[in-house]
């Protein structure tokens, strides 16, 4: 097959990932409630927190992929003018009633960066938030490289396999090796679950309970937490 389309394995990855990051009905409902409650009323210009914190979780799911659009937008807008939305601009701009929002056609007037600096503070949520904070440089956790990712997942699968075959000692050993090598892993919940099951199998309920408590506080709503009910730490 040519690269005009994704191959089946690649398609599988995309499909699963899309499904995982697509808000479910519950999230959609929360987002809807937030919109009705917050945006449908008399929201003051410049109000930064219209939606509740809980609703924002749902909203973020809707736009999870914005994180990738951000660097893309840097490149796309590099040669262009400064584009910004604001409530005031929407109200006064002659383009505010333009029915087609093709991205390059901004709602707000295009303002050169140097002009923008001289302008009064924008009431927009984003500009307010970004200017209020002194440019916090959030440093994301390092992502595993390709080989490291394969090794990490492989190690966890070995632990799973050992656990499934009844070799709890080996499963525990591998889970702890995983914890040592990947302390900030995004699969730490799954790893902890393996550890709990192994400790239970080895007749070490006190240790298992400690790990389980940590897991539950870390991911209280995870199905992994729920799946521990049938172990020695189940309630």
């Amino acid at each position: 097959m040519s690269d005009n389309e994704l191959r089946s394995a690649a398609r599988n990855v995309v499909d699963i990932a899309r499904s995982a990051r697509t808000p479910n009905d519950r999230h959609r409902d929360r987002a809807y409630q937030a919109l009705v409650a917050g945006l449908g009323g008399t929201v003051a210009v410049g109000t930064t927190k219209v939606a509740s914190a809980a609703a924002k979780v749902a909203l973020k799911g809707t736009f999870a992929w914005l994180k990738w659009a951000i660097p893309a937008a840097v490149l796309a807008s590099g040669a262009g003018g400064y584009v910004w939305y604001s409530r005031a601009a929407v109200a006064t701009s002659p383009t505010a009633h333009a029915p087609t929002v093709v991205a390059p056609a901004p709602v707000a007037p295009v303002v050169a960066p140097n002009v923008e600096q001289a302008a009064p503070p924008s009431p927009s949520v984003v500009s307010e938030a970004s200017s209020a904070a002194p440019s916090p440089q959030v440093k994301p956790a390092p992502r595993p490289s390709g080989d490291a990712l394969v090794q990490e997942i492989s190690l966890l699968h070995q632990a799973l396999a050992a656990s499934s075959s009844g070799n709890a000692a080996r499963a525990l050993e591998l889970a702890r090796e995983h914890a040592q090598r990947y302390p900030k892993s995004r699969l730490s919940v799954e790893r902890s679950a393996i550890e709990v099951r192994s400790l239970c199998s080895l007749g070490r309920p006190a240790e298992a309970r400690k790990v389980a408590d940590r897991l539950r506080s870390q991911a209280p709503s995870s199905p992994v937490s729920a799946a521990l009910k049938d172990t020695c730490v189940g309630k």
């Binding site: 690269d3 191959r7 394995a9 690649a10 995309v14 699963i16 990932a17 995982a20 479910n24 519950r26 999230h27 919109l35 219209v50 979780v57 909203l59 973020k60 799911g61 809707t62 736009f63 999870a64 992929w65 914005l66 994180k67 659009a69 951000i70 660097p71 893309a72 937008a73 840097v74 796309a76 400064y82 939305y85 409530r87 929407v90 505010a96 029915p99 087609t100 929002v101 093709v102 991205a103 390059p104 056609a105 901004p106 960066p113 949520v125 984003v126 938030a129 970004s130 440019s135 959030v138 992502r143 595993p144 390709g146 966890l156 699969l187 799954e190 709503s221 995870s222 199905p223 992994v224």
Partner: protein
């Protein structure tokens, strides 16, 4: 977290402009255009830059109504996807996400990004080639996909 504010701004803009939407483009394209412009505006702000960080609540997004095995599979897919997206150029990643994740057509993507449709296709081809090769390499390196 930047994404909080960006998402919030998108909804504010959508709310403000919804009455003026006359359906000359699809609602999806319209929303994508707004999101794109808000993000672009954010990034152009001095001091702002892509964080590329993970969602704090991703655990919650993933967790609803799935089994532990399914959750593990999903997380693996997300890890692989994130890693391969990281390898793409910004331009490739942009069209790849809009097409493969957001399911926009090349015509719609061209409309949202304000670029030629042929440019969209060229970038998409390169992105898919990179993605296909990346997944093949992952699978060949280790039989990780199914426990």
């Amino acid at each position: 977290m930047a994404i909080d504010d960006v998402v919030q701004e998108v909804f504010v803009v959508v709310h403000n402009r919804l009455a003026s939407f006359e359906a000359r483009s699809s609602l999806k394209t319209w929303l994508a255009g707004i999101a794109y412009n808000v993000v672009r505006g954010y990034v152009r702000k001095p001091g702002n830059r892509a964080s590329g960080d993970y969602l704090d609540e991703e655990q919650q997004l993933l967790a609803h109504g799935v089994s532990p095995a399914e959750e593990l599979e999903r997380k693996q897919a997300l890890l692989v996807l994130d890693q391969l997206l990281d390898k793409m150029s910004d331009a490739q990643r942009e069209v790849f996400i809009l097409c493969e994740i957001e399911q926009l057509s090349s015509v719609e993507i061209a409309e949202v990004l304000g670029i030629n449709e042929n440019t969209v296709r060229t970038r998409l081809l390169a992105a898919r080639k990179l993605f296909n090769a990346g997944v093949v390499r992952q699978r060949a390196s280790q039989k990780w996909w199914r426990p």
